[in-house]
């Protein structure tokens, strides 16, 4: 039984153990880590990354990557606030417009990868620049305000608890994502695509359609993430979430998803996201500079892939 769990969830167990270690160490250094209110307050920063990480888990399991998600997030924010402030879009409509625009941008990636037969890495590298560039054209160096009534969603708590709305949203989405990934045919198709794309096509799986759906999903997630981020920060800027793709990809890979495709779990991704959050918060409390924090996350990403390559080789794959 134990060995079965270990062979099926090895990488996830590593992530859980690392999370406990990092948490224990941080709590030892900084007692505030044991204060639930402080923890839930700090965690609001990671809900946007969490939503991006959910869709990235699917993309990476399918053997692809989406570097442009954070740029989609910024562009959706720029488009929505521009529509509201210059073209009189009712603020509440942003909640619908954001995921739709995000989905459309993601679908463009998907079409290029699927119909254009282009590698997702290069396509999304180009659209990463393109989308953020368009956001920069729209906003320049200025920021546009988020409508007042939509600001501060992260401060609304479920009555009687410390749980705030973004966290509840992420929890619901995570449960749905886990259900779709592990319990539906579509989830299995995604996994099959990442295990062996050629074989998946021969097995009659509509691989092209799935690719478009995956990147669209990624864009929709970025649209939702954009609304959360704008609500938290109160303004849209072209450089929102710049570099956040590193945190997102690190969370997914550290959480046990194979960068070569074919394996991964939502539980692992969420656990690893918690790890990234604890490590960053711990460093922030210790006064480590932001740039050095990025270096540590980069190291975490590389070490997790090195580690999984090493164990895979040991298993004789």
């Amino acid at each position: 039984m134990i060995s079965r769990i270990r062979s099926r969830f090895g990488p996830e167990i590593v992530a859980v153990v690392l999370l406990l270690l990092a948490f224990g160490f941080s709590a030892f250094r900084e007692p505030r880590f044991l204060d639930a209110e402080y923890l839930f307050d700090r965690s609001t920063l990671y809900m946007e990354a969490g939503i991006l990480a959910l869709s990235m888990t699917f993309v990476i399991i399918a053997g692809h990557i989406d570097l442009s998600v954070t740029s989609i997030l910024a562009l959706v924010g720029a488009i929505c606030t521009t529509l509201v402030s210059k073209y009189g879009l009712p603020p509440v409509a942003m909640i619908i417009v954001a995921p739709v625009v995000g989905g459309a941008l993601g679908a463009l990636n998907g079409l290029l990868v699927s119909k254009g037969k282009l590698p997702s890495l290069v396509v999304t590298l180009a659209t990463m620049a393109l989308f953020r560039g368009v956001a920069q054209i729209l906003l320049g160096d200025h920021s546009l305000p988020m409508p007042k009534e939509l600001v501060g969603i992260h401060k609304i708590q479920l009555p009687g608890t410390y749980f705030h709305v973004p966290m509840v949203l992420l929890a619901i989405l995570a449960v749905i994502a886990a259900g779709v990934l592990h319990r539906t045919v579509w989830g299995r198709w995604v996994t099959a695509l990442g295990t062996n794309a050629e074989a998946a096509r021969h097995a009659g799986i509509p691989t092209g359609k799935i690719l478009i759906q995956l990147f669209t999903l990624s864009g929709v997630a970025a649209g939702i993430g954009s609304m959360l981020m704008l609500s938290r920060l109160g303004v849209a800027r072209f450089d929102h979430a710049r570099g956040l793709e590193l945190d997102v990809i690190t969370a997914v890979v550290l959480g046990g998803a194979s960068i070569f495709g074919g394996r991964g779990t939502i539980v692992g991704t969420i656990t690893a996201l918690g790890l990234v959050g604890v490590v960053q918060t711990g460093m922030g409390v210790a006064g480590v500079k932001a740039e050095v924090q990025v270096a540590v996350i980069g190291l975490l990403l590389i070490v997790s892939v090195l580690f999984s390559n090493f164990t895979a080789r040991k298993r004789g794959r």
């Binding site: 393109l130 560039g133 980069g298």
Partner: protein
Amino acid sequence: MKKLLARRELSLVVAIILIVGVAVALQPRFASEQNIRSILLWVPLLAVAAMGQTAVIITRGIDVSVGSILGLAGMTTAILLRDYPQLGVGGAAVIGIGLGAILGAINGGMIAFAKVPPIVATLGTLGIYRGLTFIVSGGRQVDDYQLPKDLMNWSLEGPALLSNVPFINSIPWVVWIALLVMILSHLGMTYTSYGRDVYALGGNPDAAALRGIPVNFVTFMAYVLCGIGGGFAGVLYASRYGTVNPSGIGNGFELQVIAAVVIGGVSVFGGTGGAPGVALSCLLLGVVNVALSVLAIADTWQMAIYGLVLLVAIIADERFARSARKRAGEAV
């Protein structure tokens, strides 16, 4: 295949002429000596870094850490020159380039021997090298008055030998250095066995391994070359700008480098392209960059333009590759 490459280089030349023509028509000031000089000064950094990235992309890899390599090597060179001026500009430059090679070797080692996918390895080191840049500099910048005049002169003065030739005499050392690097890269990629191995590996990795090409070593060396290019560009950055800021130097530069290489005809599907095309595309990007500022188009447009042109170049490559496959299929 020769024809295919020639077509890309020809279209780059046409694009350069077109953009220059439009820019001059709209704003005659574009053709001034000062402007041509600023284009010429803009290109070397990019070209030197792009030469190394060319080898990486030909092997079907990618190095997104090159901006951070440029940053760490340039920062280190500047700090060394500030604190130990007795090293001399040459000595510090050699150390900067050597550091670039080591950083590239770390990337290459992980990719070639530990089989970490290039994007993961270099996305990680993108963050790590930038963090190290902060650590070595303590977060403080090096100002131009702290750097030796000799280094600045690389970007100001040309070879004394040419001082009597009109116009040519105002071309500074950095341009000649970049030209030399491009020529050496072209010769290296065309006439050495290593260069041929790089193309063979990019064209068909399985066949390359079967033919006994040391695939791991060739891959490893491509990243070392990319590191050397990044390190050298870092030294040139210090010469060109004087002020070296740990968060500014080379930040986001990887996009320009990768765009230059791909636009220059190096296919992301591997195995094709080379130094002449990349050199032309660096010149093209330099012309575009200066044209944008002369025509008073806000630099907020720059990133979108890079992204769009990169996307178009990738799609064009795929079209070429597809039609080439089709022709090959018919011939067989």
